[in-house]
Symmetry: D3
């Protein structure tokens, strides 16, 4: 049995990036944990109603995945760059130390959203081998509307080397996103059922299966 940590800057990132893989981990008996880094707050214009809806959505999502644990750091959305990075590292490291995952999924350091980039940096620092030797695999995912919209001229693009067959889980992945319906849109919007299905098919064609999610393996220790 594997212990898996899903790091999401914002709830829905884990599902967009690797919801099928999480469902498969769960189906294969692995223990899966959810770490949500940011939260919304009235201070940035969220109404009490929308905040309640969002809390419910998180609860429902957690139940649907059967996460073994859900940790919400409650840091300010879209403002992680206003915090000392070392504080973010320490907080993420503490969660990792508690859960002791062998497999960690995290967003890409080149995503357009600065929260994604900083969460990556925190995970990278917190998973130095001598800090968390139990982490055996560290993978970054691709998130439509973020990874695919990166246009950094001085950076290497996302290029997957791990493909996970999610054929039996693709429909469920898409269904799960309805918990965060306000984040979804109408195709060709990248966070739409059609776009998600199309990407899964492209990644599948690269891997010889009907649907896949793709990752960059950053570190594996055997």
């Amino acid at each position: 049995m594997s212990v898996v940590l899903a790091v999401a800057p914002h709830p829905d990132d884990e599902t967009l990036g690797y919801g099928g893989t999480l469902l498969r981990h769960r189906a294969e008996g692995d223990q899966i944990h959810w770490l949500i880094v940011t939260a919304v707050s009235p201070e940035f214009g969220w109404s009490a109603q929308r905040m309640a809806e969002r809390a419910t959505a998180i609860d429902n999502m957690a139940a649907d995945y059967s996460f073994a644990s859900v940790t919400q750091l409650g840091l300010p959305t879209a403002r992680l760059d206003t915090l000392p990075l070392s504080d973010l590292v320490a907080t993420v490291a503490q969660v990792i130390e508690t859960i002791r995952p062998d497999t960690v999924y995290t967003p890409h350091s080149g995503d357009v959203h600065s929260d994604h980039r900083l969460v990556f940096q925190a995970v990278a620092a917190a998973t130095k081998t001598f800090r968390s030797p139990y982490v055996r695999r560290l993978l970054v995912c691709e998130i439509q509307s973020e990874t695919d919209f990166a246009v950094q001229p001085d950076r290497l693009p996302f290029q997957p080397n791990v493909f996970v067959d999610i054929t039996p889980y693709l429909s469920r992945k898409i269904a799960l996103l309805s918990h965060f319906a306000s984040e979804m849109g109408v195709f060709p919007f990248p966070r739409s059922a059609e776009a998600i299905r199309a990407l899964a098919m492209c990644r599948g064609a690269q891997a010889g299966v009907a649907a896949a999610e793709a990752f960059m393996l950053l570190k594996e220790i055997r």
Copy 2:
């Protein structure tokens, strides 16, 4: 009116890579030319019947696209690396000098097939600005089963910066590939209608349209 040169190592590469874009060029009144670099021959085990079928397929494809010209260099398939590269450069340069295109599409230097890589090198050398100053745009395409299967650890991956809306042309692109039915397969095979449609949707989602083909612009002179 633009004069467009479509460079294909093998017939069907142009359609897989940018058939929709060619159809759009044609629809918009541009003149499109087809350069097929290799040919098959009895020497490498092709029967007279299959060779005839292939010749017919090329004729039909040319008619369907209304190419202004079709040039077949007749070089040996899968064996371009046995020729002096400078001969390939000279031959390609001669075709370019005759057609004087302003826009050139070519396969990617990182494709798995060595023919693709060498055709790229020949086009790159033949389109040095002082040799063919009339070439104003040079673009490389992605070809499913080639570009997406590259696993070179020491090379930069394909990362598109040009997206062409081919929404009205996608079905026609897929239909055209039936001329080379033996090259096509059943999904998740990458050269299948479903995989081609999925990639067009992914590239479309990046560009805000229902279907797109993607390119790397290597050189534009304004």
Copy 3:
């Protein structure tokens, strides 16, 4: 007619980077807009006199270019990293939403000055296709004393793929820089008439013209 947005961290960046291209846009009947991100202030040691001179210089520059609009965000020079990036993104996005440009020029993410790097990040986030679908071309420029002085060992260097013939505009570009004479120096200082002319000639030689400005095209949608 094209609607062009010139994004400058500090006034003079647009002229150093692509003054000739702006002049050509103007001459060809395009509408050009100027977005100046930062401002100087007494708080950081600027005297009233120098501030007035600078305001005059901006006015004169704007008049000489015949900018359709000039937007000054007034953010603190050399201190953009003290602001939440999401605020910068939101502010830039608002300007883009107002002007609705089809073409955007921006500094390079690898420039030595942190203001340049952050302005790039803001523009990249603000021009996600689904946010501003009217933006059809996004280009980064090279700015002497910034782009050419980058020494980042872990980043890809500036490598142009678009060359704009500015032969008729080079002298005017250099003349315009006299509005910000305090930023200019004596050759071999990189912001000098001789160095600017030399770079234009090098880029011209690559493009087959007497003088050119060079860009990296990050995104084009056709």
Copy 4:
């Protein structure tokens, strides 16, 4: 049980690159196969005696590893670039089709020796997913005196993402190299016991173990 294919341009490359990993595969009950691409011949100045010694060395090495099979393609050492690459691809593909490995180890495309580079290209082409869907993991290794001596200015360097703990196997790996004693030298020669041990310790320190071999994972399908 895993079926592992060790691709070696020349015998000893597999041991230098991943001898410890092969020994561990064997100890864990996996089936390991050896593919030796090149051979020496009188034509290039090898005496009958040296050729016999080499044949014996290969036999002894094979026995010590308990390889399930040894395939020798017998292609000319240091002259793979004189063969059509498509022939090399076809030959390697045939071996892969026969053995049907799930895991393939191969040298790096950036190694100094052209044989290494071409063997990589052949393996990359032969392991396209739709050709050999049973290959689930493709990894490139680092070979001292080759990978570490690469100085290509236009290529990405070797950067490992997989670390295999070979602590119990390091001494045996070094002992095995005595079969090819003529290839070994005195430290600081890179093919020496001390240099091999030092690299294993460095890779171990990165992975939190006493000795490791490092790889780049190019493709994994789950």
Copy 5:
């Protein structure tokens, strides 16, 4: 005689990264200067005793190296990202202006620790040629537990192009690290005598000497 500036985010970085090279500079009559960017403070939980021990360690280290000068900027450890980068640039530039080094060593921009990354950015900005024309060589070093633990998917890895023979100085380098014994650990911890020795041997094997330190040369002016 050369004037050398060793820039260390934290004391011990200079020794881990290039202690042998500094000792050799000293032995060859060069003048060596030490710039320590950060300091610890009670505010972040350091006891008076540990702070005193650290001050002593710095003094002892300085004496052992015979540094010509030691400059301590006293900025907060692990919190450089909370300062405006332009302030850090200005402070570092002032030190450089005072010392006027011809050779500068600095940590890598891709190190895991954000302090290292920001110190690099400050040094890069402060050593623009027109600011400090006396700087003739700028080099970045590798620091075990930092540079070797970087896993950035969108960045180029450390790839050395300068190798300095430190054979006579390796033992002394390791001995010097005992001044900061709390930072050291037991192998396979990367900051251990064995790991340091192993890396020196690997770099030595690349350079044909028994022990070497490796660098990336970013700029040399002759």
Copy 6:
């Protein structure tokens, strides 16, 4: 005194790439050697007269530089890819073994001309440290019309890290090229006096001098 080897695929490459640097080496008392890899021949259409003119040009060039030795390998121009690379390596290695240079200049592996790329590969293999430990510095140069015209989408571009002040030698460099007048053209042709001067000024502006040649240092051993 330094012993310098200038490797030129074709005569004039050394002058275009680093003629000023060679003149400075000579002026500073270093010994400079010229290795010309290719030759022209009647077989590829060269008349006796043109061949004689070229021989004279080489003699005159050699005299003007006061080369300590000139080695002509006489390999077929534009056809190095028809030779086994290992033969080219062996031949180049023999020259290096004879001259025992401490400094080697060579063309870039990414140049458009395949001869340049193969000469680079041969020099890289021949200068492995354990083969030629006396080589202390290996540098690649930029050659106008080759390096600046590279458009490889999967390769890293030329990015200099060494700048050599050639202010006193620029005019002489340009004058020397008149020996190969047929290779030169009228600006904006890249091999023209104006383009060469412009590049030297750009590189100079980066280095704080009036004129410079730029290089990538690939290896230095101290």
